[in-house]
């Protein structure tokens, strides 16, 4: 039988990572409040579902934005026929404007530099194709998004060299670590073509401060390597410090403006996280390098955004009033959800890395590890999936240099589900604590666990949830007297 290519037969698609095993557990037994309350709760998917109502309202008010409604149909023919890889001019303008707004209008973006790609997935890959040859390398601070292993490496043949970040300084990227990684590469004769940052960070949920960004930029500039900033979580910043985009650094800072070679700087953007539209595949490459803009644009033929989608996005994002309202409200809701979840975790003694952005938090479960090893982490993770029934993502799948950290997503579920997740976590931690306090044999722990399972299945668990709802001041039930009293 005719063989397939090496690309097709290697494992670089990355689907055998544990990142996906949790998803499989969820797919086999998905939680549903009514139909499957004992199922696995999906907390491994970084989606933003908190503000759809605002978008749905806008769509109702603006039927013309869709080419299938009576009001919008007159555009159908032109839109369906338009295949220019520059994209609809109004789409590019709207995206540029939106990018400005999400950066507090502190910097301007040029619509002529907005290039489409098949989601951020496509955008990241396209930039690799433009900036690096097979065998070249990009430095990436770890922990990092597992998808990078596929997106940046699979078809491009580019290598990823992680820069270890440590919990002892809150996983901040240090110049020393960067230098070390760079020098190691030089010694191994690997050509480093650039550095890729995710800011705000996935999985940490933190933003890079101005000084760090400047230092990183100085380093890449001095070594004449590219700097790619994946800013797809820009709008998920809900707390101080304010988000600082690389665009601001190179545009607004006079010194930087003078000394930095802008041809080395590129931004990846998308609407999948900020707006919650992963299905629409709106990825953007924004480069300050004219050649890269031209090249990426040609490559965008392989992953253009459907004009149907360009059309509706253009209308939505050029509605200034809506955008402003959305940005404020979305940030508010994310902050609230973050507080609720991290607060609930704190109550049972679980700490998270202090974060101000993202759709997730970076949970410190080191105290729960039987042993501070990769195996220890995997064991704990399997326990969480199978017994606690939460799909969380183990730090090892993010290439985290330390064991015991887990990413937990909180913006893709409703308040009630968050409560249930917190109850399950509490029960799990309590069960664990009992063992620790009593020093009792594993049997008891096993009994506790199976008791948990029993209680899940015979409805006792649901009672716990109900009582939580009634008692908690954060009750999701709007008519709760406690909530009213607070207001």
């Amino acid at each position: 039988m005719a063989l397939l290519s090496k690309l097709a037969t290697n494992e670089q698609h990355g689907e055998n990572s544990p990142y996906f095993d949790g998803w499989k557990a969820y797919d086999n037994d998905p939680f549903h409040l009514v139909n499957n309350p004992n199922g696995v709760i999906q907390m491994g998917l970084a989606e933003n579902q908190l503000s759809f109502d605002l978008i749905e309202e806008w769509i109702k008010r603006n039927p013309k934005a869709s080419i299938c409604t009576t009001e919008g149909m007159e555009s159908f023919r032109t839109i369906a026929n338009f295949q220019d890889y520059h994209g609809l001019p109004e789409f590019r303008s709207a995206i540029a404007k939106f990018m400005e707004k999400t950066r507090g209008s502190r910097v301007k973006f040029d619509p002529e530099r907005v290039v489409m790609a098949g989601g951020a997935t496509g955008a990241n890959e396209t930039l690799m194709f433009c900036l690096a040859d097979p065998g070249d390398a990009f430095l990436v601070p770890s922990p990092y998004y597992p998808g990078f292993n596929r997106d940046l490496r699979w078809r491009t043949g580019v290598q990823l060299l992680p820069i270890s970040c440590k919990s002892s300084n809150s996983f901040k990227i240090t110049i020393e670590a960067l230098k070390e990684a760079y020098e190691n590469a030089q010694q191994a004769n690997v050509k480093v073509k650039g550095l890729i940052l995710t800011n705000p960070s996935n999985p940490l949920g933190t933003t890079l401060d101005r000084d760090t960004l400047k230092n990183l930029l100085t380093f890449t500039n001095e070594h004449n390597i590219h700097l790619v900033c994946d800013e797809i979580y820009a709008t998920t910043v809900f707390d101080a410090p304010q988000f600082v985009s690389i665009a601001e650094i190179i545009t607004n800072d006079e010194v930087t403006n003078r000394c930095i070679n802008k041809d080395l700087v590129h931004i990846v953007y998308s609407l999948s996280k900020d707006m919650g539209f992963p299905g629409f595949r709106v990825g953007i490459v924004y480069s300050f390098n004219d050649d890269v803009v031209n090249c990426a644009r040609k490559m965008s033929s392989f992953g253009l955004v459907s004009t149907q989608t360009q059309h509706i996005i253009a209308a939505m994002l050029s509605d200034d009033e809506f955008v402003e309202e959305f940005l404020i409200e979305s940030a508010k809701r994310l902050r609230k959800r973050h507080e609720k979840f991290t607060g609930g975790l704190e109550e049972v003694g679980i700490k998270c890395l202090k974060s101000n952005a993202g759709l997730f938090c970076w949970m410190d479960l080191r105290p729960l590890l039987k042993e501070p090893t990769h195996d220890g982490e995997v064991t704990l993770w399997k326990l969480i999936i199978n017994d606690v029934k939460l799909n969380v993502s183990p730090g090892s799948s993010f290439n985290c240099p330390e064991t015991g950290w887990f990413r937990v997503c909180f913006a893709n579920i409703d308040d009630q589900t968050v409560d249930i997740a917190l109850v399950r976590i509490r029960m799990f931690v309590d069960g664990n604590n009992d063992v620790k306090e009593n020093g009792v044999a594993k049997e008891k722990q096993h009994w506790k666990r199976s008791n948990l399972r029993l209680s899940f299945s015979n409805g006792k668990y649901d009672e716990n949830v109900m009582s939580l709802n009634m008692m908690s001041p954060n009750s999701p039930i709007p008519h709760s007297p406690l909530v009213r009293a607070r207001n």
Binding site: I59, A80, G122, N224, N257, G279, D291, V292, F302, S306
Partner: protein, 442 residues
């Protein structure tokens, strides 16, 4: 005060970025530029360049609009409130099941029910451009080659070669047998690759063919299948014009060949389809790969993460294409209108003294202007092309941009304009030919 930065010497980009394999320097695209600078418009610019280099299908939009008008609630393309959220969140690379079912069903109808398609083998990509590149990544390693019969769609130079670093080895076809692929030509191309130590991984055909506008005969398809089987290589059949065959029964899909042999040894065959030509929706980026090879389906699906179809568009088309009353009528009417257009242009050209290759499909015809060439060379062909572009003000595509080994042939599109505009174009050609005859007589 903004401080101007000195432009430093270009920092290193990749080899892919600095090569010209993107193909945009070909005359195929130069003609488009001339059009962009001076586009014809019946009212506002009646002496502008008429675009006849763009293979678009604009003859049946009214049918689509009618459907939307009637079923806009059913279409649920985002205006249905409860479905918007689920739709916007749906990023599963399997694609909407309803969409895959609808595509499979549509592909069956286009083939008059002579082949069956399994929705689970439908892989979604953002256009046929992406589908062809993706398949190339999967079937061939950098440095390997695909055999492609000439002349072929100029975009293949980019789609199959640019980022994949795969080569195209041409299979030369000529007018002696109406440009049909022969086993000898395939064998010659294969040997040529071998002599250069290039590994051939597959054959890629377009059926119906671009640029001819003709379906590939059953016998030829069988010979191609026999060839790829013997060499143990893959076969990609790009069937994006299948719905544009003027007469349904004249189009034979590779799927039918496989079905007739009970799918024996069919794992080497893969079909590319798209809605850009048949439905006239190039903006929506709807491409599919249909493979009979499970590994290819799995891998293609994983790779499609880089190039998925917008879930909004999947939803709209799932509704549209699962409405059999609509699709049956559309397919039939579209074929009929394209046939009429074809006859109109053929008659018009003939009365101007120009012959075309006999066609029966597609959105274009393959025009023979070799009598106009001073010498049968590529340069003379380009000279004629230049004249037609700048004096006659028609953007047509020279055969050399399609890698045709015989100079003097041109692809002329006829479905991307109104009938009025086509009349005007034919008149311009007529006048041009008359002038040339007068000049020649003197």
């Amino acid at each position: 005060m903004t401080i101007k930065i000195e432009k430093r010497p270009t920092v290193g980009l990749s080899k892919v970025a600095t090569s010209d394999t993107h193909g945009e320097d070909s005359p195929y695209f130069a003609g488009w530029k001339a059009y962009d600078e001076n586009p014809f418009d019946e009212v506002h610019n009646p002496s502008g360049v008429i675009q006849m280099g763009l293979a678009e299908n604009q003859v049946s939009f009214d049918l689509l609009e009618e459907y939307l008008e009637k079923y806009r609630d059913v279409a649920r393309c985002g205006s249905g409130i409860s479905s918007f959220r689920e739709n916007a969140l749906f990023q599963d690379y399997h694609g909407l099941l309803s969409f895959r079912k609808a595509m499979a069903s549509f592909m069956e109808q286009v083939r008059g029910g002579r082949a069956t398609f399994d929705p689970d083998r439908v892989v979604i990509t953002a256009g046929a451009t992406a589908a062809n590149e993706l398949l190339t990544f999967i079937l061939a390693d950098p440095g390997d080659a695909l055999l492609v019969p000439t002349p072929y769609y100029p975009g293949f130079d980019r789609d199959l070669r640019w980022r994949t670093d795969v080569k195209i080895v041409p299979v030369h076809c000529n007018n002696s047998n109406n440009f049909q692929v022969t086993p000898q030509a395939l064998e010659e191309a294969y040997k040529e690759a071998e002599s250069k130590n290039i590994k051939v991984k597959g054959v890629l055909i377009t059926n119906p063919s671009n640029p001819f506008g003709a379906t590939v005969q059953r016998l030829v398809l069988e010979e191609i299948v026999e060839f790829v089987t013997r060499k143990n290589i893959h076969l990609v059949s790009d069937e994006i014009y299948s719905g544009s065959a003027f007469c349904c029964s004249e189009f034979v899909s590779i799927a039918e060949i496989l079905e007739s042999r009970n799918y024996m040894d069919s794992e080497r065959v893969h079909i590319v389809y798209s809605l850009s030509k048949d439905l006239g929706l190039p903006g929506f980026r709807v491409g599919t790969i249909y493979s009979y090879n499970d590994n290819v389906v799995t891998t293609a699906r994983r790779m499609s993460s880089f190039t998925l179809i917008s879930s909004q568009t999947q939803q709209l088309l799932a509704s549209m294409l699962s409405d059999e009353t609509f699709t049956q009528n559309y397919i039939k009417t579209n074929r009929e209108r394209l046939r009429r257009r074809y006859e109109m242009i053929i008659d018009g050209l003939r009365s101007a003294g120009i012959e075309c290759l006999k066609g029966n499909a597609g959105l274009f015809c393959w025009m023979n202007l070799s009598p106009l060439l001073e010498k049968p060379t590529k340069d003379c062909e380009l000279a004629v092309w230049n004249t037609i572009l700048h004096e006659v003000k028609l953007n047509i595509s020279p055969g050399s941009s399609c890698h045709c080994s015989e100079p003097g042939w041109f692809r002329v599109c006829f479905a991307n304009m109104s009938e009025n505009t086509l009349e005007i174009a034919l008149k311009r050609i007529h006048d041009f030919m008359e002038t040339r005859t007068i000049i020649q007589k003197h």
